[in-house]
């Protein structure tokens, strides 16, 4: 391959660094009204009365909206395939407010200062209700968070709002209780994973205008422009044909922009006033009023025989979806479906649980999407089991983990909200990933730990992981290739580049198939009018699904070109050969650029375009093995992460440098969740971690070394052998770190983040236990 599997600079990095206007707010209409949202100061309340008269009178205020002024249709903000697996439990504005930061009223004014002033003039009388702030007390709590009429599930997901349940699920393979009883060794443990904030560098940003065809045009920093269009149309009763949604450059999403944040208000304000409008979330709003990751409690039971055969896994999850149920069922299911198949040879598996409402910030999609939470629990539990078994954790995994050619019954049973899709692992290099990772991490020299001077210790820990590549039979992507004179192409894709480089790698796929170079493939993406459909940037679907669509389109285009060349050369189609630059048949030839010009201007003129679509029939998982090396201070519990080794099987990496960037970006976010980040609430449900001063994401000084390699792997069903690489990087750090800390100190931390204080307290507890035992 000349272009695929080779590094090439992104097609847009230079222009962006040089400062060209590119992001949503750069493209807002200069006369746009500024929208500000009045947000609830109470975790749970009912609006008794709301008086916006003074705000409306303020000079410079164009419009003020309350729940009296907006459509009363419930919807889901989640950007997912329709009908969505998320309950329709949100109103544009409601008389209930369900978390501190929830929307109460919407103001649009000629500038920000006046809009903020207007917010202060709105008088609201609340009936304060008892909030539910502990997700372990949410089920059947007397305080019902969604008592209102008009909400519903789109298909059965276990939606029981009167019991504060957003979704629930159970699946069984074999009889897990019976098998557990027959095991030589059983371990049982509960794990807590915290809510995590996406903290993408660009706050949510939307602007709207009416164009000269009297259509609503939305620019949004979104991962799902087509879902945005549909949801706006359905909720605001505007025909789909009158709405255009454009996604410009996006400053990071990671799932935090896989839903509507602000689009509803920009659309309404512009429709009602006829004027352009914009809404830019403040950083505080991004923390408080967008999304977090679902915090979970995960109860794991593992049963094995003395010889190290894992026989049973029992997994119960309680997940906190916060005030609204976007992604409630699907994240929870992925915690099982994209972790449990790693140990595919067990006799029995049970996976069940509930997702409950609380008066916390809404949880939503976040890279990993449940797999990181499930991975922390299962991969920690495996190490706990190994200790009890007296078995080396590497040997245990090598004995029990899934290998190439194998399958797991869970693939057929668990999809995303619905039934799954059976599949064999046509490409699975997990065994290589583990072996190679052992080498790169110097595991054998260090495991479990090595003493250093000054009461410090070096230790290693590891975890394996899998993810998916798109959602089979649901996620569709499409691409259109247009030929231009002079011999270059436009590639129009619905696929959503949010910084992961999809525009670039899709150009590479097209260039490879069309035998041209990346600079001759001009990408335009994510415009609901001009680009074909794509579900959007989520579920690690872009390389696999959108990439296959591009490949299909390129194949069609190549066939068209050969056909036209045969006409131009007046020879039979079978006799034409093309090398990317020239069409040859015996002595006759015509260059590609000459053919293109001929088709535009001279003879047999026509515009060649080719559209390809793709829907996956399976979701081939990428795999990885992650190895962490830490240096830990036995006196204070402080530790530093010295190296993180990642060996990844993503099939063919279309662009090795960009793929490495995806892995490493994911690793560092995973390290953030494992070690530093914590969404924290005060007693009243107020978010304490609402700025970068309080919410600590990893900085460049926290990362000493990252070692990343890709396994030689080829997935037949993927474009040029590719699977996906967007999420796999984030899954392993929490368990790898927990295992390393155990190896360093004997302290098993079962809740995230793994802080020095927790380690210190664990070491103190161990010392006390030792003393108590000595004194006996």
């Amino acid at each position: 391959m000349r272009i695929v599997k080779h590094k090439t600079p992104s097609i847009d990095g230079k222009g962006i660094m040089m400062g060209r206007p590119a992001y949503s707010d750069d493209l807002a209409d200069p006369n746009a009204l500024t929208i500000k949202i009045l947000r609830s100061p109470h975790a749970f309340a009912k609006i008794k009365s709301i008086d916006v008269s003074k705000a409306r009178e303020l000079d410079g205020v164009e419009i003020v909206l309350t729940y009296h002024d907006v459509p009363k249709k419930s919807f889901t903000r989640a950007g997912q395939g329709y009908p969505e697996p998320s309950p329709h439990d949100k109103f544009v504005l409601d008389e209930y407010v369900r978390y501190i930061g929830d929307e109460v009223a919407c103001v649009a004014a000629i500038n920000e200062k006046i809009a903020i002033q207007a917010l202060k003039l709105i008088k609201v009388e609340y009936e304060v209700l008892e909030p539910v702030l502990d997700f372990e007390k949410a089920f059947e709590n007397p305080s019902v968070i969604h008592p209102e009429e008009g909400i519903r599930e789109m298909f059965p997901i276990g939606f029981l709002p009167k019991k504060n349940v957003a979704a629930s699920y159970e699946m069984n393979v074999g009889e897990v209780d019976k098998v557990l009883k027959s095991c030589d060794v059983v371990i049982e443990e509960s794990f807590y994973t915290q809510a995590q904030s996406h903290a993408m560098m660009e706050p949510h940003s939307v602007n709207a205008r009416i164009d000269f065809q009297n259509r609503l045009v939305i620019y949004s920093s979104t991962q799902t422009p087509f879902h945005v269009r549909r949801i706006l149309s359905q909720t605001l009763d505007v025909p789909l044909s009158r709405i255009r949604v454009i996604k410009p450059r996006v400053g990071g999403g990671f799932g935090g922009k896989q839903a509507l944040h602000g689009e509803m208000f920009a659309a309404l304000v512009t429709l009602r006033t006829g004027k352009p409008s914009k809404i830019n979330y403040t950083r505080k709003e991004v923390f408080e009023s967008a999304y977090t990751r679902h915090p979970m409690r995960i109860d794991i039971k593992l049963g094995a025989d003395k010889d190290g055969t894992l026989k049973a896994i029992d997994c119960y999850i309680l997940s906190d979806t916060g005030a609204y149920g976007e992604h409630a069922l699907t994240v929870f299911m992925v915690a099982g479906s994209k972790v449990l198949p790693l140990y595919n040879k067990v006799e029995a598996v049970r996976f069940n649980g509930q997702v409950v409402y609380t008066n916390h910030v809404s949880a939503g999609a976040f890279r990993g999407y449940g797999a990181i939470q499930g991975n922390f629990a299962v991969e920690s539990a495996v190490d706990i089991l190994c200790t009890k078994l007296g078995m080396d954790p590497i040997l245990f995994r090598q004995k029990n983990m899934i290998l190439e050619g194998e399958t797991s019954p869970i693939f057929a049973i668990m999809g995303e909200g619905t039934e799954g899709t059976a599949m064999n692992m046509e490409s699975c290099k997990l065994d290589f990933c583990v072996k190679r990772g052992l080498e790169l991490s110097h595991w054998k020299d260090i495991y479990p730990r090595k003493k250093l001077k000054d009461n410090k210790v070096k230790a290693v820990g590891m975890a394996i992981a899998m993810q998916g590549s798109g959602i089979p039979y649901i996620d569709m992507g499409a691409a259109t290739i247009k030929l231009n004179d002079d011999g270059f192409y436009n590639l129009m894709v619905g696929a959503t580049d949010i910084g992961q480089g999809s525009d670039t790698i899709l150009a590479q796929i097209a260039a490879e198939e069309l035998m041209t170079t990346v600079d001759k493939v001009i990408v335009y993406s994510s415009d609901s009018d001009l680009t074909p459909f794509d579900t959007g940037a989520y579920a690690s679907s872009t390389t696999y699904v959108s990439g296959n669509a591009v490949l299909n389109a390129a194949k069609i285009m190549k066939d068209m070109l050969l056909e036209e060349a045969s006409k131009a050369l007046k020879v039979k189609l079978e006799h034409v050969k093309f090398d990317g630059y020239t069409f040859k048949s015996g002595e006759k030839e015509i260059t590609f650029s000459d053919l293109a010009n001929r088709l535009y201007y001279n003879e047999d003129q026509k515009q060649l375009t080719a559209t390809g679509s793709y829907v996956g029939t399976k979701s081939p998982p990428p795999f990885m093995a992650g190895f962490i090396e830490i240096e830990l201070d036995l006196e204070t519990g402080e530790y530093e992460i010295m190296d993180y080794v990642s060996v990844v099987d993503c099939g063919t990496p279309i662009n090795p440098k960009l793929a490495q960037g995806q892995v490493e970006g994911g690793i560092v976010q995973g390290i953030g969740m494992a070690a530093y980040e914590e969404v924290k609430y005060g007693n009243k449900g107020n978010l304490l971690s609402n700025s970068f001063l309080n919410y600590k994401i990893p900085t460049t000084k926290n990362i000493h070394k990252l070692t990343t390699e890709f396994a030689e792997s080829y997935e037949e069903s993927g474009p040029f052998g590719a699977k996906s690489v967007g999420e796999i990087g984030i899954d392993t750090p929490p368990a790898a770190l927990a295992n390393a800390v155990y190896n360093a100190t004997g302290v098993r931390i079962t809740s995230l983040p793994i802080t020095p204080q927790k380690i210190y307290e664990g070491m103190m507890a161990l010392k006390q236990k030792e003393h108590a035992n000595e004194n006996k």
């Binding site: 006196e635 204070t636 530093y676 970068f692 001063l693 900085t699 000084k701 020095p756 204080q757």
Partner: protein, 265 residues
């Protein structure tokens, strides 16, 4: 911030008169720390033109203008030499250069921020603050000052002392407030120990220092006892960054390490 008027002062006296004329008037140093608290100000008084941005080293002291930025201070050659660089180190951990090129040492000290990294380090040196119109006091006295104080900080004077300093900021990531700050300075025969971000503001551990300074030999037992006195006499507390017990454990470890480092390394 809400600011009604902005005025660049042409003299210290003009600035002072303007400051005391209205309780809602304020002096701006860098404005960096100020922005984080979003005050509402009638007239903002700028000392930019009053040449308070110099660092002058003499034989016995280093005189620092209150408008010197944190970055300017951190990279100044005289400051970098002080105590083998521990003052510069305590400045280098404050957010990033983009912040430190704005924030001033005057604004940092006047704010008396409990989480401050540089204040505990400065506390271990003989530091005198000079105010306009006519007050002078030690840094420690200023930190303990109660009640309203309208005088304008113009200079910070550090008496040069040969010795070695130690500074440790305990935090998970570099851009957050410290869980704890520990500073130790040893000159000739005198130890100074300061603890900050307890979460309370920086204080000198006087009883521990008195004990340590009375000892002929700095043995492991002496160091251990000194650290215990710190725990007995300094108040620690809990907040969302850490518990009281954990802060105590950190204080103990780092006071011991600090003393060892300035004595033996």
């Amino acid at each position: 911030m809400e600011i009604k008027n902005y005025h660049k002062a042409e003299s210290l006296d003009e600035a002072y008169q303007l400051l005391i004329s209205n309780p809602k008037n304020a002096i701006i140093g860098g404005g960096a720390w100020m922005k984080l608290s979003s005050p509402s100000i009638e007239t903002l008084i700028d000392l930019k033109d009053l040449k308070l941005d110099q660092i002058i080293e003499s034989k016995s002291s280093i005189e620092i203008g209150s408008m010197v930025t944190l970055q300017q201070l951190e990279t100044n050659e005289s400051i970098m030499k002080l105590g083998h660089g521990f003052i510069s180190q305590s400045l280098s951990v404050i957010l990033g250069v983009g912040f430190r090129n704005i924030a001033t040492i005057g604004g940092t000290i006047v704010g008396r921020y409990a989480f401050s990294d540089v204040i505990p380090a400065l506390l271990t040196l003989p530091v005198k603050l000079v105010f306009y119109p006519n007050k002078e006091m030690s840094l420690e006295d200023f930190l303990n000052l109660k009640g309203k104080f309208n005088d304008i900080l113009t200079h910070i004077i550090i008496e040069k002392k040969t010795g070695k300093g130690f500074f440790k900021k305990v935090a998970l990531t570099p851009l957050e407030f410290a869980i704890l700050n520990v500073a130790v300075f040893k000159s000739e025969n005198d130890f100074q120990i300061a603890i900050g971000s307890r979460p309370g503001g920086a204080v000198l551990a006087h009883e521990a220092m008195a004990f340590l300074n009375s000892q002929k030999e700095i043995s492991d037992e002496v160091i251990e006892k000194t650290s215990n006195i710190v725990l007995d006499t300094i108040k620690f507390g809990s907040n969302k960054s850490g518990s009281e017990d954990y802060r105590k454990a950190l204080a103990k470890s780092y006071v011991k390490r600090g003393i060892k480092e300035v004595t033996f390394k």
